[in-house]
Amino acid sequence: MTAAAPSSTPGSVPAPVPDARPAGAFATAVHLAPLFARRRDGDRLALALPVAAFAVVTALLLVVLGGAQAFFGWDDDLAFTYEAFAIIAVVLLVVPLATVGASAARLAARRRDERLASLRLLGATTGTITVLTVLEAAATALVGAVVGVAGYAVLAPVVGLLRFRGEALGAQMWVPWWWLPLAVLGVGLLAAASAVVGLRAVVVTPLGVRTRQRAGTAHWVRVVIAVGVLLGGMVVMQMLGVLGNLGGVVAIIGALAAIFGGMLLALDALGPWFVRVRARRQARKAQTVPRLLAARMVLEDPKAAWRQVSGVAMTSFVGVFGAVGLALTQTTSTEGMDPDEQWLMQDISTGVLVTVAISFLMVACSVGINQAAGTLDRAAVHVSLDRLGVPRSVMSEASRRAVMSALWMVAGGSALCAAVLIFPLVGMAIFVQPIAIVTALAVFAAGFLAVRGAAALSARLVPGILARPERVL
């Protein structure tokens, strides 16, 4: 939009930098790096955000690893069971953590793309651009990761307050020191790798970054298959006893793993479709501008809307299982259990809730990052709407609604699927152990509030944008 963009002055385009050999590309890139890194002061926020995002990713990663490895120091009879549950929890948190990582990488890429596109127009070669991108992504991520280690140092004692077997985790939360540089390096490498992947669009077409494609829509056949998987899961669930008689514990665990895996895939296929169908309906019915806008924003890319919050899908699913199962075991047979087993029951319940809570926290972070990036991306729209006299709250409310509506679908939908699978048990649990169910609901509610808060946070960027409109128009 700026008339002075380098791309619009063909007369001043320098000759392409010749760099046929990779070494040449590297040398040119290093030469250009300071230029590339120099930015107007307005970009400070855009620079700080990806760093903060990578810091959050690293801190959460270390907290999860720290919590999981805490159990590996134990060496009694039940240690193996705790370790197994710890591993399951880590596996469940991989998806939400990956979501945060992806948002961080995307945020970093957004800011980069525009300058890369203009570099490309100026004649920089693919090699130069690749090297520059990887350098910047790695540098941003490394700085963020180091900050994240500090964040871990702050968070670990807090999480260490959690009690297992009646004792706080405390110092067990600390990972071995040499994990820290590994985590920092790992985050840096992943960021660099994702930058290379994300780069292809820019390299293929200099203008590629500006042309937004319309997202493909989910086909109804996938919905049918997904529903089939869900029904199949229900059947298998009913036959668990038979399976147990036939093949023992291994068969049961195998069947459960298959059900969970199937559910995850089914949810991922169903989710975007449901999100789209619901948003269509909302777009038709909306009576206020924020509602209409929110629905239209979701319809713009239902898959992205789903993916942003899909990190809570599996944990919500497992959360219902855990809460119900534990509610029932707690009432039935505490009498005959030895104290260790009673602790185990208690601790699984704690573990399930903590895992659900962390997954919501991760989704909240990823939403916060995505919304911030989205707000900066749409800065020009904010300025335009403000000029038209559209109240400032309209856009913020719209984007918050877009997130929350998808979150309801994800968390509500997966919890509902789980409840359907073990339907009779849920009913029983509500009657015999309302407290356990209420606790679980409270965790979900807190999770929703956290995501909502994160979504609302980006509205704070708007006054800054409106105060300096000339930067974006």
């Binding site: 209409l292 806008l293 038209l388 109240p391």
Partner: protein, 263 residues
């Protein structure tokens, strides 16, 4: 150096006032001055301007002469560092510059219409929704807002395109949607900043026709333009240089526009 004689300015104003015929102007600026925080010289320097209801005013001048700044001050988008802007409204005159952010925002929403070069519409919404939104913000129920919006789109030659998303419209079509949006609220005063800047000449003529047609219906138009053809079709041309009004004429004098614009 061409004249900066205040007489020239005053003469222009008298001319304008003469046409107004003693009526109170719809919009009236006095001593309008805008000094941007970083700027060395003011972007607007004590501008006096009266605009009568139903007038079409072209604002011309070299790049950087303060046209956009003037438009934004008149429309309450920017708060001038000094001077006043008075809008005659049904409930008596309103001093725009003394309203707070929310008040000016409300004024823009309810009383003014805008057509800029680009970017005042939402990509996600359909053409119809983009126009209807302006009414919904005023509390009109969606169904009625869409009926009114559809009438405007039809009136502006966009029948059949109501359900297109904005990205699926041409530049000229999008600009018509913006014109519909500017008028659907019943705004009496429309501000346009280079509304034809991104269009080819044939489309420019069409878009300008639609804007001028709005003045026929009693609305008032203030249009910033680089295009002498656009200015020629307006009832009055104000030329700015270095933040001052250097000419203000009923018929666009070739000499003034050519001399001032190509500077």
């Amino acid at each position: 150096m061409p004249t900066r004689d205040p007489l020239v300015v005053r003469r222009g104003r008298c001319l304008a006032a003469g046409r107004v015929g003693g009526m109170t102007p719809l919009l009236s600026a006095r001593g309008l001055t805008m000094q941007y925080p970083g700027g060395t010289t003011p972007a607007l320097d004590a501008v006096d301007l009266d605009i009568a209801a139903g007038e079409s005013v072209a604002v011309m001048g070299a790049s950087g002469s303060g046209k956009t700044t003037l438009l934004h001050c008149l429309a309450g988008i920017l708060r001038p560092t000094a001077g006043s802007v008075t809008l005659g409204s049904a409930n008596g005159p309103v001093r725009i510059e003394s309203l707070d952010d929310a008040g000016r925002s409300r004024l823009r929403r309810e009383e003014l219409g805008f057509v800029f070069q680009q970017g005042l519409l939402l990509d996600e919404l359909t053409a119809l929704e983009n126009v209807a939104v302006a009414r919904m913000l005023a509390g009109v129920p969606r169904a009625q807002a869409e009926t009114e919006a559809a009438q405007w789109l039809h009136h502006l030659g966009l029948a059949g395109l109501e359900q297109r998303r904005l990205g699926e419209l041409s530049g000229g079509q999008a600009q018509r949607v913006a014109i519909a949006r500017a008028q659907v609220t019943g705004a009496r005063l429309i501000f346009a900043d280079e509304p034809t800047g991104a269009l080819d000449s044939a489309t420019s003529v069409e878009v300008l026709d639609l804007l001028l047609a709005a003045t026929q219906a009693g609305r008032t138009l203030v249009v910033v333009t680089h295009d002498a053809d656009v200015a020629r079709r307006c009832a009055r041309t104000v030329v700015l240089r270095d933040g001052r009004v250097v000419s203000d004429t009923a018929a666009p004098s070739q000499a003034a526009t050519a001399a001032e614009v190509s500077r």
